[in-house]
């Protein structure tokens, strides 16, 4: 595999995700403007933070006038799951120069990880595997910048009844459901979902974090009970 073909493999693996990501990016642009964020700052958040659901939350918190420290903390909590992706791809990237590690860490999103990981874990490992992750990461980055720009520029003129904000839950369903291949993983999802619904009224979405922890604990407990 050449670097170019590995890059294109990553781009192709990511492309289906853009069907969910593009409407979500447009909606983010609309929500950011509605929260009183100027268009340029709304667009620049997409490259400076570059994390879909966290950007959505951050825009809403700015609109609600939340304290800055709390906003940074909320973004950190919601993005903590990326530590998993970091740990998961770390062995694949171990021999690369630092500039590659910095670049691929910046591009490490839910979608890029989900699209690239089956190729990254394939044996024997391709010496060009990092180009696959770069292709997936770049395709998502480009699509995200473009769609948030569209949202900032024309989003307010889109009909609201299309329900485009449904794209985020749909994208996450497309990522999560195929991951559920054991009873422990199913329990983790059900507990996290149920707790998130029960605690939804907690301020600044802190219920999300409690729900994720509860799901994590339930899944790990179920896995621990399973005979080896």
């Amino acid at each position: 595999m050449t670097p170019a073909s590995a890059f294109l493999l990553g781009v192709r693996a990511l492309l289906p995700m853009l069907l969910g990501v593009a409407p979500f990016g447009v909606i983010y642009g609309v929500v950011a403007l509605q929260s009183g964020i100027p268009p340029l700052a709304a667009f620049l958040m997409s490259s400076l933070v570059f994390a879909g659901s966290a950007q959505f939350l951050l825009a809403q918190l700015v609109g609600a006038g939340a304290p800055a420290l709390l906003m940074v903390g909320a973004v950190g909590l919601i993005n903590l799951r990326h530590a998993l992706y970091s740990a998961s791809v770390a062995p694949v990237l171990a021999q690369l120069p630092r500039r590659w590690k910095l670049l691929l860490a910046y591009l490490l999103t839910d979608e890029a990880y989900a699209a690239a990981i089956p190729h990254l874990l394939a044996e024997p490992r391709s010496p060009q595997a990092h180009w696959i992750l770069f292709g997936a990461g770049f395709a998502l980055w480009f699509g995200w910048q473009l769609s948030t720009l569209v949202g900032v520029l024309v989003g307010a003129r889109l009909p609201a009844d299309l329900g485009l904000d449904f794209a985020l839950p749909l994208t996450f369903i497309a990522i999560v459901v195929p991951l559920i291949d054991s009873r422990a993983r199913l329990v983790a999802a059900l507990v996290a979902g149920a707790v998130a619904v029960v605690l939804v009224a907690l301020p600044y979405k802190t219920g999300l974090f409690a729900a994720a922890l509860a799901g994590l604990a339930a899944g790990a407990f179920m896995q621990g009970r399973k005979p080896a």
Binding site: A41, L44, A83, Y85, L93, L170, F172, I175, A196, F209
Partner: protein
């Protein structure tokens, strides 16, 4: 907030997000996380993404509603079924939108 203080806020959030994504990539070869951590890792995206998604499906304007007044719940179920059977991203998202628009049109 002024534009410049917003950009500083974005920068802080971006650096933190980057630090999380870079963490284990940077530590590789210098530090090995404990086994329990490795075993728990696969549950993280499942729990976190489901926690974000479930309230979007189960609530309408902040109220719990799994009835026919909540087409997103049923469209979400349809998408979950499609994802479970075909494990295809494009098909899952497209069928979820199709179900939502169909239900909005019927109900």
């Amino acid at each position: 907030m002024s534009q410049s203080s917003l950009l500083l806020l974005w920068l802080a959030c971006g650096l933190l997000t980057f630090a999380i994504r870079y963490s284990f990539i940077a530590l590789e070869g210098h530090y090995r996380p404990p086994d329990w951590f490795i075993r728990w890792l696969p549950f993280v995206p499942i729990a976190a993404l489901t926690a974000i998604t479930a309230p979007e499906l189960a609530l309408v304007a902040g109220q719990f509603d799994l009835g026919f007044g909540n087409p997103r719940f049923w469209a979400g179920l349809a998408a979950i079924a499609v994802a479970a059977i075909w494990k295809n991203t494009l098909l899952t998202i497209a069928s979820g939108f199709a179900a939502l628009w169909l239900l909005n049109w019927i109900l």
